[in-house]
Amino acid sequence: MKIKAKGPEFVELDYTPMIDMTFQLIAFFMILINFSDAEVDDRVQLPSSAIAKPPSAPSEMPLTIQMVRDGKIIMNAQLLPNAESLRPYLKNEKSVMELKRQNPKDVNIIIRAHKDSKTGLVQQIIKVCQEIGFEKFTLRAKSEAAY
């Protein structure tokens, strides 16, 4: 004699909580995602400042130069040994701007230097940029709580 099991023949899983959770996670990551093309290198640990606030609007003509702890410089994803080696790259940027009829004096040089790097090396970067014809500089720092 065939005995029929008492339970249902087909167990239907309730996917609703899992799908709810997954969509919430997707929404969370979509809000957090950052598509900005700002050059940020993980090797650069910025110094902190209580009054450094993010700019209300992005710079019109930014040019980012980064310096890692040992003084090496990163520009356009290239690791350069010192400030002097920036010169050809900066001249190239200047030529491109002149072709586009833009004034190099309006370019905002953003300096992201490691907190333990030597100030003299940062000043060397500024000096090389000045000699090429750039005037506006921005020192970037990490925002922290006030005094």
Partner: protein
């Protein structure tokens, strides 16, 4: 007794195949997880430093001479002396002292717009001290988050040799 007529050909419950949707959703989740970059907020200090050129004509009478801030370091790059003109600041709260001193000089008057601080730093000085000094002379934030500006013009003295 009411007669119940079953529609021919249609089952009671139409099962929806969730597999493709769940596949896509998990792929999206993986994409967002892998592209997430946790970055802290960053802020800027602007400095305008044209290359020094001979000035034509008379100097601007409203332009005050720069307030010279000297930052001296040891060989390891640690700050050993912080002085503004001839006044030295020492102790753990030296930057707070500097901030208070600058606030007493500049105050809330018209000097804030015209005052200029020139940072004279040793070559080996760690850059974080420079940012700390710029923070101290630039202003502070009130408990409700408002920025109180002090000196807006900041420049570097010519770099010292190593």
């Amino acid at each position: 007794m009411p007669l119940r007529i079953k529609k021919a050909g249609l089952p009671d419950k139409i099962p929806i195949d969730m597999t493709p949707m769940i596949d896509i959703v998990f792929q999206l989740l993986t994409f967002f997880c892998m592209t997430l970059k946790v970055a802290s907020m960053e802020g800027d200090f602007s400095i305008k430093m044209p290359l020094a050129a001979p000035r034509a004509g008379l100097p601007d009478p409203n332009q005050l001479p720069p307030i010279k801030l000297r930052l001296r370091s040891d060989a390891a790059g640690n700050l050993v002396e912080l002085s503004l003109n001839d006044r030295a600041f020492a102790g753990a709260d030296r930057f707070k002292q500097l901030h208070n001193h600058i606030a007493s000089i500049v105050g809330e008057g018209s000097l804030a717009a015209s005052a200029e601080v020139e940072l004279d730093c040793d070559f080996n000085l760690k850059y974080e001290y420079v940012i700390e000094a710029i923070t101290a002379v630039s202003g502070s934030t009130t408990p409700d988050g408002q920025l109180v500006k002090l000196v807006e013009k900041i420049k570097f003295a010519p770099p010292r040799s190593e």
